[in-house]
């Protein structure tokens, strides 16, 4: 089962390496990882996507929590979090196919980021599943390049906070 973990870390050199090294040596796989600044200049947020059962997930959280730079680990429960991802896709688009592709993009809330004589670069922001769907739609046209940021997320403010359950508060 897939889980999204949101990890607040001190913005210190090597913090990301310590986390990724822990995953590697404990044999946990990271499906995607996105890291960036937060509302505090001295804190970064890492959003991790992992595919594992409940027991290894608990191990991951506990082992991460032992790292000195890690401030908080919480799981973003589906339905309780807003999750987004950005993707850029270079798709083959000869002039006669261009119109069809652009219509497709409009229907999927993607936009044209760059246009060349035989290709188009789309950008799409959305829930990762929407990006999956768009990817499948353009693939038959010739998907030449694809890059995704990995998902990021925050807890929803519109639902009561149940997710404290998953916050790691064993200590």
């Amino acid at each position: 089962m897939k889980h999204t973990l949101s990890v607040l870390v001190e913005n210190k050199p090597g913090a990301l390496m310590r986390i990724s090294s822990m995953f590697a040596r404990r044999g946990f796989n990271i499906e995607s990882l996105a890291v960036g600044p937060t509302e505090r200049h001295d804190v970064s947020r890492i959003t991790l996507r992992v595919d594992c059962e409940q027991h290894p997930l608990e191990q991951i959280e506990k082992q991460m929590h032992k790292l000195v730079n890690v401030l908080r680990v919480s799981e973003l429960e589906p339905g309780e979090a807003v999750e987004r991802e950005l993707a850029l896709m270079t798709v083959a688009a000869t002039p006669d196919r261009r119109g069809e592709l652009i219509a497709l993009a409009q229907a999927m809330n993607a936009r044209v980021a760059d246009l060349g004589s035989d290709s188009v670069v789309f950008e799409i922001v959305g829930h990762p599943e929407e990006i999956d769907a768009f990817e499948e739609l353009v693939r038959p046209h010739g998907l030449k390049e694809l890059v995704r940021t990995g998902r990021i997320g925050v807890g929803r403010v519109s639902v009561p906070k149940r997710s404290t359950r998953r916050q790691h508060v064993l200590r």
């Binding site: 001190e10 090597g14 390496m17 090294s21 027991h55 191990q59 032992k66 000195v68 401030l71 200590r171």
Partner: protein, 574 residues
């Protein structure tokens, strides 16, 4: 006060109460050693190899419970510390390693003796720092000592570029650490402790499975009280040897691969298993799914990540063991006061019967000196003496576990998790620096001794006399045993010979005293003399190479399937 970074390191160590640091100078730590030359309350012990320095710091830490300090230069000096750091990581030994680094502007240029030691050690440290500005130094060192000794103990590394050591700044040692992400548990949950006490009070066949965490927590008194109040039998793992008095009626040996049958039967047939600062290591459990199957598990540990890592804990308590065990005793007392007496006497009798029925034993074959006899004699000669034992890794280590009886906490120091050959001699030197009044004896193997034996020079010249007893079978003995038992006697690259080097003459070359023992009749005299001479002494005990270490649970086998002794039918499991 205005000073150089190098002096600030020493003032910081002094502020932490560090008595002794073990190290070797080199290019990138020249400023630090210049500061030593200017004077410090910290004694510096000059090792002969950085691995030795690291194990000495470990031996010091394990003998005292305080943080050990090792110093090395950049590059190869730092990489030579990797083995002790990994060892300290596996055995949760508090260690601060200070390494020199090339000047800041050279970092990343493949400069002479540059290596990314913080990167190399990430998987084996609790935390590490590459000090970028001299102003950071005091805060980093304060944090380093704090992290090393709080929560689950372990190693940290502080890498200091040479120009940071040379930079002048206004030194002030901070009172507090600034580590927002470091929050080791402060107290075990009272409700969980209550539940644990109830389970223990109701148990008919409980067993305390004690690990090294009890020593790190300085909770040996509380453990003893718990066992006595609850009439609870105790087995101690290799890492916990000496945490509970081994001549006590409630001590029932050591579980695991080379533990006696009665210890393994006890731990595997209990109804309530209390893991106290222990981590269900494969060398203890054997086949995990068959380990103490059916027992209710109470797991007490400072490290929440150990709870449920390998074995599900029915009643977990996360907290400092001194408090957790202390509160558990109080709870148990309360329950007893309400009229529920311990129900463990039949079980204790059963365990004692097994101990009678399946004693440790070994055969005698003519004149050949048996390795077990060396350990038995050592034990007999040191009863009631203040002895600290260290060991290498292998057969001799397991015999030391079986035959030496340690009643004082921190009197048995060994490499458990990493199984580091060569640990014994330097660890003994570190222990001697910590406990000069004690007799420090390293029980070593001939293979182990040859990995770090050069530290005899450190022992002799630094006036840290130790006794090294080499259980010399002329082989990499444990490998020989496995090749014999599991590889159809295809002995491959294990023969070291009894006579090269001549250990007694080697000892003399280092300025130590050397003894060679080839028969049982010579043994006691040589050991007596070595133990009482007050100098660094090496006893080369040339033992029967054919002797295997038994009992043995083959790797991956269930603990109840142990091979007691090869020549007889294993007794049936009742």
């Amino acid at each position: 006060m205005k000073m150089l970074g190098a002096d600030a390191i020493l003032r910081s160590l002094e502020a932490e109460g560090v008595e002794v640091a073990f190290g070797i100078p080199g290019g990138a730590v020249l400023p630090l050693y210049d500061a030593f030359a200017r004077g410090s309350a910290v004694r510096h012990v000059l090792a002969r190899h950085e691995q030795g320095a690291g194990h000495m710091a470990e031996g010091y830490a394990r003998a005292t419970g305080r943080v050990g300090v090792a110093i090395a230069t950049s590059g190869p000096g730092a990489t030579n510390l990797v083995t002790p750091i990994a060892d300290a990581w596996m055995d949760s030994t508090p260690l601060v390693c200070i390494t020199g680094q090339v000047r800041r502007h050279l970092i990343g240029t493949d400069a002479f003796q540059e290596c990314d030691i913080t990167g190399i050690t990430i998987p084996i440290v609790k935390h590490s720092w590459l000090v970028q500005e001299v102003e950071e130094l005091p805060g980093v060192l304060k944090a380093a000592f704090h992290v090393a000794r709080t929560g689950r103990c372990g190693p940290v590394l502080v890498d200091v570029p040479r120009d940071v050591q040379e930079a002048a700044f206004d030194f002030e040692y901070p009172d507090d650490v600034d580590l927002p992400g470091w929050k080791p548990p402060k107290r075990g949950h009272p409700r969980q402790i209550k539940v644990a006490a109830q389970a223990l009070a109701a148990a008919e066949k409980p067993m305390l499975y004690v690990g090294g965490g009890v020593l790190n927590a300085n909770a040996c008194d509380e453990l003893l009280e718990l066992a006595e109040v609850g009439r609870l039998p105790v087995v101690t793992t290799l890492m916990a040897k000496s945490a509970f008095p081994e001549t006590h009626e409630l001590h029932f040996g050591w579980p695991g691969m080379h533990g006696p049958k009665w210890s393994n039967w006890g731990i595997n047939k209990c109804d309530v298993l209390v893991a106290v600062g222990a981590r269900f290591d494969d060398r203890v459990t054997g086949k995990l799914s068959a380990f103490a199957a059916g027992a209710t598990v109470i797991h007490l540990d400072i490290d929440s990540a150990e709870i449920g890592k390998l074995r599900h804990a029915d009643i977990p308590v996360v907290g400092p063991l001194k408090q957790v065990l202390g509160d558990l005793v109080e709870e148990l007392r309360r329950i007893h006061a309400e009229g529920a007496a311990p129900r463990t006497e039949p079980w204790l009798r059963q365990l004692a019967d097994w101990r009678e029925e399946f004693p440790l034993k070994y055969g005698s074959s003519g004149d050949a000196l048996k390795p077990q006899a060396v350990l038995e004699t050592l034990q007999r000669l040191t009863v009631n003496e203040d002895v600290v034992w260290t060991t290498g890794v292998g057969q001799h280590q397991m015999w030391a576990m079986q035959y030496l009886l340690c009643d004082r906490p921190r009197s048995f120091i060994t490499s458990g998790g990493l199984g580091t050959m060569g640990y014994g001699v330097p660890a003994a030197i570190g222990a001697k620096a910590a406990r000069p009044e004690a007799t420090v004896v390293c029980v070593d193997g001939d293979g182990c001794f040859q990995m770090t034996g050069q530290e005899l020079a450190t022992s002799v010249l630094e006036d840290l006399p130790i006794v090294v007893v080499i259980v010399n079978n002329g082989y990499l003995g444990m490998v020989r045993q496995w090749q014999d038992m599991f590889f159809d006697e295809r002995f491959s690259h294990i023969h070291l010979t009894h006579h090269v080097p001549d250990y007694a003459r080697l000892a003399e070359a280092y300025g130590a005293v050397g003894f060679t023992v080839e028969s049982e009749s010579e043994l006691e005299g040589a050991l007596r003399e070595a133990l009482s001479c007050g100098r660094t002494a090496v006893v080369d005990a040339r033992v029967d190479a054919r002797e295997h270490c038994f009992p043995m649970i083959p790797a991956g086998a269930a603990a109840l399937d142990l091979v007691e002794y090869p020549d007889e039918e294993a007794a049936q499991v009742p």
